[in-house]
Amino acid sequence: MKVAKQADALLISHADVQHLGAYPYARTHLGLSCPVFATIPVVNMGRMCMYDLHQAKVNEQEFDVFTLEDVDSAFDKITPLRYSQPTALQGKCKGITITAYSAAHTIGGTVWKIKKDTDEILYAVDYNHSRERHLGNSVLNVGTSQGLESLGRPTLMITDANNADVALPKRKSRDTALFNTLAETLRNAGSVLLPTDSSTRVLELALMLDQHWAKNQFTYPLILLTHTSYHTAHFAKVMLEWMGEDMTRTFSQTRENPFDFKYLRLCHRVEDLEKYPGPKVVLASNQSLETGFGRDLFLRWMRQNQTETDAVNTLILTDRAAPGTLAAHLYNEWYSRNSADDAAAAAGADRPEVRSPIEYETQIHTVIHQRVPLEGEELEEYETRKRNQAEREAQQAAIMARSRVIMEEDESDASDADEPDDVNLEDLLTTQFDLYVRDAGKSGGFFKQTHSYRMFPYVERRKKFDDYGEAIMVDHYKQASDIEQIEEAMNAGTGAKFGGEDVDMDLAEPILPARDETPTKYISFEDSITVKCMLQYIDFEGLTDGRSIRNILAKIAPRKLIIVHGTPQATEYLSNALKNVAQFTNDVYTPDVGEVLNVSAATNIYRVRLTDALVTALRFSKLDDYDLARVSGRIHFSTDMTPTLDLPSSQDQIPFEPPVLVGDVRLREFRKVLQAEGITAEFKGELLLVCNDHVVVRKMGTGQLLLEGLLSPDYYKIRSLLYAQHAIV
């Protein structure tokens, strides 16, 4: 907690609760005031994530840890960045440059490089080595010059051990398993609940299911139920440049935004589900099942005898969730039940298969928080109070509305947005009517007016507009002279596309469905519920697996490594595994929470100017992309106090320095060189090359070569070839 005030900069890597959940709180209550950096999607999606969390909490209990205003002000203060955009920090951190690189896992997910002079710190927590539907793979796993070259061999790397001991089934088999379970349940008239987060991983699931639905022409409803579902999709549409190449390629070829879901319906309220009777698949937040629609539906659907039918519903976990949560509990149950069966099989297999769902039936004792409508006296009392207040507001609103210039389109939209839908207060209706009257005669107001009806569209939206907006417009203009037509359309109102969707948002009023003003109170009670459902865990966390972690770490080869974010077992496992990696640093730290590590690596550095005479006198030897030369000279200070290195004066005795061989020869490549020269060379073991039967080249470790052989012409020939593979300075 002290840290919040002391921090000089905050870098946020992912737009999910685990990575930024405490940010608004820290900003408001802990005195966090430093500059904050995150990529554009992290800012956008992080905001969605916090809105959803807040809304979920508010629907259950008194919630004042943070308010929506806190969220807004906190996220407005973030400096948005793009990938590979080196950003120099100011003030106290002057001299430090931070750069974001793609981490995959979530949209805008970031691996941070923090650089000062020659010291580089690489912060890579939660990344994905492999490509997914909507994201490319992390820069850590890209072999291109762009990727590792700038990230390789950092002074310090901080990474996670979360998945270090996990081997994942192939993506394809995971996909198939998911589709199979869905099909099975739906066929048996059950519904499927997929708890998910509200802003990041949900995109992958939504996209995957939407495509699957489109491919198979399913008629079962597919629903995304979060408080911010519409806006999550809305923002996803305009952040294609942050997604994988597949996305941008399909987009530029078909010009269809993949996040214009064809089958997935976006819902904001549990009640919306009633429109879709029968078996359905619902993606609901939050993945922990501790709060939000996810929990709501869990409690409704997964109970014994919960429905009129006998159908057993299925709960598919796609995420292991934080320990201590209901979801984590269920995961553990599932895991322990399942692991008994195939523990043996899993141990041997490199790529385990996805385990099948289990029938799960148990008693869960839990506290249920609810917000219930007021009844009886409470309600009356509330209404009287409310009515008085509302009358005052209505008067003001009416005055404001009249004085509004029509030009101020945005603002009047905002005023609409302020109004809650389906309010039962006549006063507010008057306000609405007031605006209605104002706009009624104006055909131009037609589109705007429809916004007031916050009906969620459930018609096939895609058919409703072309690239210029609503398809209806063409008719509209053809018939625009016909006022009757317009009025008719106005009355039909709800048919216009988008309706409430677009209106919901304004900077003053957060991007959320209007607050439900039904008078309510919070109750909470303990209950013991009997859970009966099919339970399955299929990994869609989008994180790298154990093997790739080791490969990537070996490739990056940090000088020091700190492992965080993992169970003690996984952390232990990883640090042991790394000991077996050849030439890996021994400086691997596994700190506990609160532990302070000193990992400073003070590098000395100063800049020096080289004179032309010196540079021209240098003899460079080339090695790959490097030019190397031995340089010796004397320092002089020029007028601007920059040290200048000049040629030594002729009297100077240049001390002899033994030449150094630079380069790391691969025996395999050297063999080719030898063969090109007509020398037979064969391997006897990994690191042993026998040439013409009497000269041996042996690798004794990094930077240690042994050339051994009988005195013979071949010996000298091979030696000179070996020298030629290095730069000698």
């Binding site: 960045l81 793009r82 990938y83 590979s84 955009q85 750069t99 020659t118 305009v238 987009f251 010009r255 269809e256 935004n257 029509i406 131009g444 507009f465 690239d467 210029y468 907006g469 609503e470 417009m473 203009y477 053809k478 625009a480 002279s481 677009d502 948002m505 900077l507 590098t603 100063y606 800049r607 020096v608 080289l610 032309d612 540079v615 030019d627 190397l628 030369a629 031995r630 340089v631 000279g633 004397r634 320092i635 030594p648 320095e657 150094v660 061989l661 630079v662 380069g663 790391d664 020869v665 006897k684 026998v690 039967d693 041996v696 930077g703 050339l707 052989g709 009988l710 010996y715 030696r719």
Partner: protein, 727 residues
């Protein structure tokens, strides 16, 4: 001032060709269209834009690519999607030897494809004359890498960053850095924020050495945006309310979207106009609207804020016209049609159709290249020539309101002053406009006593600027432990990569070399040696003076080695192992210096056998007793040697015995000639004679000779083995 020479004579003599930064206009030098600029420095070569000239067709419209070797170009950067900047990209990528990488921003790439496939379709030239086809376009598309604004990309020492340039969606300025020299290429840019685009930004915190800027508008000035918009909307209103049709020829993409936003907003605010349709007749623009609806994050804050409410690129009052047949030409309307300069196509067709009616109006909103019909119409001629050659009276009103998002003189000169680069290169402007701008700029710089040079290179003319490129290096690691003092000697290794120089001590190479590894090459050479060790020692002492002798005893090791080691000059170790009496091993760390010492040691060793000194030494009493001790050791195996001098023979004898044993085992009956150390092998009537000291075979029968020599090689290896076991 006007007469500034491009290459003043008083310039410092150029030592290194590499220090010259060369700029060659392959297009857009003293013209507008086919932008293409080649930048070369320090062996790196970058092509900026590859456009086509709108006024020409076929190969003539290309930039002068044959002036350069495309195979040498490392990187092609494309500033925006307009044809005069990106039109010849597929040609350059697919039909030349170019192998480098190509970069453009995400929206540019997305629109590029549609733009050019449209171009391929419309350019009504024969297939054999076509400069590239749809396949070339598709192939090139997949090779293009998309970048984001502010993203720093490094390609083999070329660092570049794209900055927002305004102009059109995705337009970029490129800041290129090679070996510390920074060049800013503006492309087409606009310094005025409009409805959807940001104003071009100036790269912060960098000193730019060369500024390559457009000069489309020369010394003209734009009218203020608000006034201009007002004039525009009221003009359109006038035309439609007088019952006329308003024709706006526009580029399909770019400015058109801005005009759509303005019109949509105006219509929204003026319901009385609602009955008048606005058409936008461009299938290309329709295709690309999705791109505009997607890359909101590359536009300005205003749009992003609006986007939070609804996507502003979903227009409410604009209808798309799929084809002309669909268009009912009845009554007033506003028609936006491409192409933008009335060269051909729909805009031209409608222009010819509507020109004779004086109620109608032509509103030219963009820049028009000299010689195009739109430019001609701006002069209000009484009649114009139709595409079929007829003369048509021009009665419709013609107005020119420049919405083209290029900088005007005020903005351009202000930007140039802000950037404050010592060299300013003008491109993308007609010769007159460019010259006027040059003069105006020189005037301005003369006033402010800035030493800025302005260049206006013609096409294919190479402009060479000399940059000595001050060489700054970083001293790191143990060398930099203390800040240097005057006249301090520094010695280390200079590591240069991608023009970054670091000086470090050899010991720090592994640490700070950025992936470099130093290697220690240990050399071990086995030499047959049959004299006594003491003799060797004596010779070495004579030659090298101080030698250091120690017992080698690697006890505990599985490969137990017991013997003696002599260290010479602290460089070469000579090992004699007790279990290998006929061989000594030289071991040293390989480098030029040590190799030399080793060679001289070897020369001494090899010379021992024949050296008269050996004879002398071994005859001395002292040596004799020593030698004798050795002999007694050997006597067990061979007894007929009395003289130390013959010890060598003794060894030969031994070796000979071994060889003959092997051969006997192998070939059965053999004739041994003890004296000549030769063996005769007879098999199946074939004969071979073997010299057992040189391991050579002579035989008339090739088959036998090969077989025997194979055996001999194996024998030789067995007798003088090299170690192939680990350790």
């Amino acid at each position: 001032m006007a007469g500034i020479k491009r290459k003043p004579d008083h310039e410092i003599p150029i030592v290194d060709e590499n220090d010259l930064l060369k700029l060659t206009c392959l297009g857009a030098g003293n013209e507008v269209g086919r932008s293409s600029l080649l930048l070369e420095y320090k062996g790196k070569s970058i092509l900026l834009d590859a456009g086509i000239h709108p006024a020409y067709t076929g190969l003539a419209s290309l930039p002068f690519f044959d002036e350069i070797d495309p195979g040498n170009v490392d990187v092609l950067l494309v500033s925006h999607f307009h044809l005069d900047h990106a039109g010849s990209v597929p040609y350059f990528m697919e039909r030349t030897s170019f192998k480098g990488r190509v970069f453009m921003t995400h929206p540019t790439k997305a629109i590029y494809k549609w733009m050019l496939s449209d171009y391929i379709r419309v350019s009504n030239i024969g297939a054999e004359d076509q400069i590239y086809n749809e396949d070339d376009l598709t192939n090139s598309f997949h090779r293009i890498e998309a970048v984001d604004y502010h993203q720093q990309v490094e390609v083999e020492g070329i660092k570049f960053t794209s900055y927002n340039a305004g102009h059109v969606l995705g337009a970029a300025m490129f800041l290129i850095e090679i070996a510390g020299v920074k060049v800013l290429y503006t492309g087409d840019y606009s310094r005025e924020e409009d409805r959807h685009l940001m104003a071009a930004e100036k790269p912060e915190g960098v000193q730019i050495d060369v500024l390559v800027t457009e000069s489309t508008y020369g010394v003209q000035s734009h009218e203020p945006r608000l006034a201009k918009e007002l004039r525009f909307t009221s003009l359109i209103r006038d035309i439609v309310t007088r019952g006329g049709r308003c024709l706006m020829p526009v580029f399909a993409l770019g400015r058109a979207q801005e005009l759509l936003l303005i019109l949509d907003e105006y219509w929204e605010a003026h319901p009385e106009l609602d009955s008048i349709p606005i058409y936008y007749a461009s299938s290309l623009a329709k295709k690309c609207m999705a791109v505009y609806q997607t890359y909101i994050n590359m536009m300005n804050a205003r749009i992003r804020k609006q986007f939070a409410i609804s996507n502003p690129f979903i227009f409410k009052h604009i209808s798309n016209l799929k084809n002309v047949e669909q268009f009912e030409d009845s009554g007033p309307c506003v028609m936006m049609a491409s192409p933008g300069m009335l060269q051909n196509g729909l805009s031209r067709e409608l222009f010819e159709r509507w020109a004779p009616d004086k109620r109608n109006g032509l509103v030219i909103a963009g820049y028009c290249v000299e010689g195009t019909p739109a430019r001609l119409a701006m002069n209000n001629p009484p009649e114009i020539q139709a595409m079929d050659g007829r003369m048509i009276p021009l009665r419709m009103s013609v107005d020119y309101i420049s919405f083209s998002a290029h900088v005007d003189f005020t903005q351009n000169s202000q930007f140039i002053a802000e950037v404050n680069a010592p060299h300013v290169v003008l491109v993308h402007g007609e010769a007159n406009a460019m010259l006027r701008l040059k003069v105006a700029l020189q005037q301005k710089f003369a006033d402010s006593e800035e030493n800025t040079k302005v260049y206006t290179p013609r096409n294919c003319e190479t402009l060479s600027l000399h940059f000595r490129g001050e060489k700054m290096a970083k001293t790191i690691g143990s060398l930099a432990a203390k800040y240097p003092t005057e006249n301090q000697a520094i010695s280390g290794i200079l590591v240069a990569k991608d023009f970054q120089l670091n000086v470090m001590s050899p010991d720090d190479l592994n640490e700070y070399g950025g992936g470099l590894l130093t290697t220690v090459l240990t050399q071990r050479q086995s030499v047959p040696f049959r004299a006594t060790f003491s003799l060797l020692q004596w010779h070495l002492e004579m030659m090298f003076g101080d030698i250091h002798e120690s017992e080698l005893n690697k006890g505990g090791d599985s490969t137990e080695q017991i013997g003696t080691v002599i260290r010479i000059l602290d460089t070469v170790d000579i090992k004699k192992l007790d279990d290998k009496p006929n061989q000594i091993t030289l071991e040293w760390v390989g480098n030029a210096m040590n190799d030399m010492v080793a060679d001289s040691v070897l020369a001494v060793i090899l010379g021992i056998d024949s050296s008269p000194a050996s004879v002398k030494v071994t005859h001395s009493p002292h040596s004799h007793s020593h030698g004798h001790a050795k002999i007694t050791e050997l006597e067990g195996e061979d007894e007929d040697m009395g003289q130390t001098h013959d010890e060598l023979d003794d060894h030969h004898e031994q070796e000979f015995a071994s060889v003959t044993t092997f051969l006997k085992k192998h070939f059965g009956d053999i004739d041994v000639n003890e004296k000549e150390k030769q063996v005769m092998i007879k098999m199946d009537g074939m004969e071979a004679s073997v010299d057992c000291l040189s391991y050579s075979v002579k035989s008339d029968h090739e088959l036998l000779q090969n077989r025997v020599s194979n055996v001999l090689q194996k024998v030789r290896r067995t007798i003088n083995p090299i170690s192939t076991v680990a350790g």
